[in-house]
């Protein structure tokens, strides 16, 4: 957490030239996969992430079925070559926790009661990882759910804020994550600003927290617009093709 690295220069610029409240570049592509019922590819800074949705389909094995609603299983996975030192394939404790908090967040927006005894599987594959994969992964998963036509009360979206060099900033990059003082990933349902994912590590005063979460929510709204634009683009093309 401590380091001599200056993360913000005298002009208020961050290592990659961003301003305090500026997001990294984001690119969203809808439907890159053939087999999946819905899919999304996102590039968010140096992150490259695919999300694929299968379902709703009969939940198997049967003992996992819920009689009144669909079960939602998000599986966050990092490709072994997505990080500096090769990661052993398969889930570790970190990915298990991230899968759990993303599953819970997405379950809130999905109208699961429409599909009793069903399951909806969401696969998030991190192909190239920089800081903020859980926010980018959730954001891509939300688009893949929409692409799969899964009924949702809202299209969720995530963004992080944090503290570096004593200042609250938006969307931490890699060095900022490693050497910063706090990271605060947040996911919301953007229509109502309800908070559906929230984690925090580090050190924030109550005032800084208030500032940070508002910044994160504001950032999430910007990302939300990118989600909608990407979906609309595909929808527009699809419509065109139809006509």
């Amino acid at each position: 957490m401590k380091s001599d690295i200056k993360l913000i220069d005298k002009e208020g610029k961050r290592l990659d030239g961003r301003k305090r409240d500026e997001l990294r570049p984001i690119k969203i592509e809808v439907g890159p996969l053939y087999r999946a019922d819905g899919s999304c590819y996102i590039e968010w800074g140096g992150n490259k992430i695919l999300a694929a949705v299968y379902g709703p389909r009969e939940a198997l094995p049967r003992h996992i079925q819920h009689p009144l609603r669909a079960v939602v299983n998000a599986r966050y996975n990092m490709a072994s070559f997505s990080v500096e030192d090769r990661k052993r394939p398969g889930p570790d404790r970190r990915s298990t926790e991230i899968s759990k908090v993303i599953s819970e967040a997405l379950e809130y927006v999905i109208l699961t009661e429409q599909f009793p005894r069903a399951m909806i599987d969401i696969n998030i594959e991190v192909l190239d990882a920089e800081a903020g994969t859980r926010c980018a992964g959730l954001t891509a998963a939300a688009v893949a759910l929409a692409d799969a036509g899964i009924p949702m009360r809202d299209i969720p979206v995530a963004c992080a804020a944090g503290k570096i060099d004593g200042q609250v900033v938006l969307d931490l990059g890699k060095e900022e994550d490693n050497f910063g003082e706090a990271d605060l990933p947040v996911a919301i349902a953007p229509r109502t600003d309800e908070i559906i994912l929230l984690q925090m590590d580090g050190h924030l005063t109550v005032k800084e927290f208030d500032e940070a979460i508002e910044l994160a929510i504001k950032g999430a709204h910007v990302v939300s617009e990118l989600q909608k634009k990407a979906l609309l683009a595909k929808y527009a093309v699809a419509k065109e093709v139809k006509q």
Binding site: V72, R94, E97, S103, L198, V206
Partner: protein, 268 residues
Amino acid sequence: MNSTLISSIKKDYLNKLAEQKKRIDGRAFDEYRKISIETNIVRKAEGSARVKIGNTQVLAGVKMDVGEPYSDSPESGVLTTSAELIPMASPDFEAGPPREDAIELARVVDRGIRESEVIDLDKLCIEPGEKVWIVFVDIHVLDYDGNLFDASSLAALAALSTAMVPAERFEMGKDYPLPIKEPPISCTFVKFNKAIVVDPCLDEETIAEARLTVATDEEGNIRAMQKGLSGSFTLDEVKKVIKASIDNGARIRKILEDAVGRDHGKKN
């Protein structure tokens, strides 16, 4: 189907109580259960503590060993936290490798210790790059009646606060207390039917829509947060929970300090 039915009846009952500002065990929304902490109860452990929060009972043990540091922090000791939801503690826990609940629990406790630098890992270096102390914190849940996050984190802190570095066993001089800094205190809330209650008992956890844990330090700053379950919080609710966490944290910190019998913030 049966268990679905029962839980649906229980849900209705707790929801109705909540509308009357009541809880199933008679507590107020902001009322924590009785906390008791006993330390040094396992002779074989470097440090140990049993924490009871109401009927919930958690045992934490600290063991230490000498090993290699991680290559990216060659001058720091290593911390490893595990949690076992053993079948003793609940008819619903099964033997076997830890499932996602236990993993989330262990990781939240671990972050509470690691990110707040409760253990001064830099003081646990023996030979830079070669030999450091490894600290194993093992959480053993003995009796599960809700709120494992707070109970486990408190048990881990109490066990660490009373742990002795076993230098003698490794022929490195006399045993000495593990260097510990002022720890942040976790406080957990759940939300159901618009009510937000502190320190949920099992029945409340079963029907809860959302959970929020906030760890705060002596100065009232936030050191860790973890939201869980598939419900949501408004920003206002989050802010209220943070405030209540700071208040409860101060009270629980005293209980911890009494139990471990010293004022860590100043002595170490």
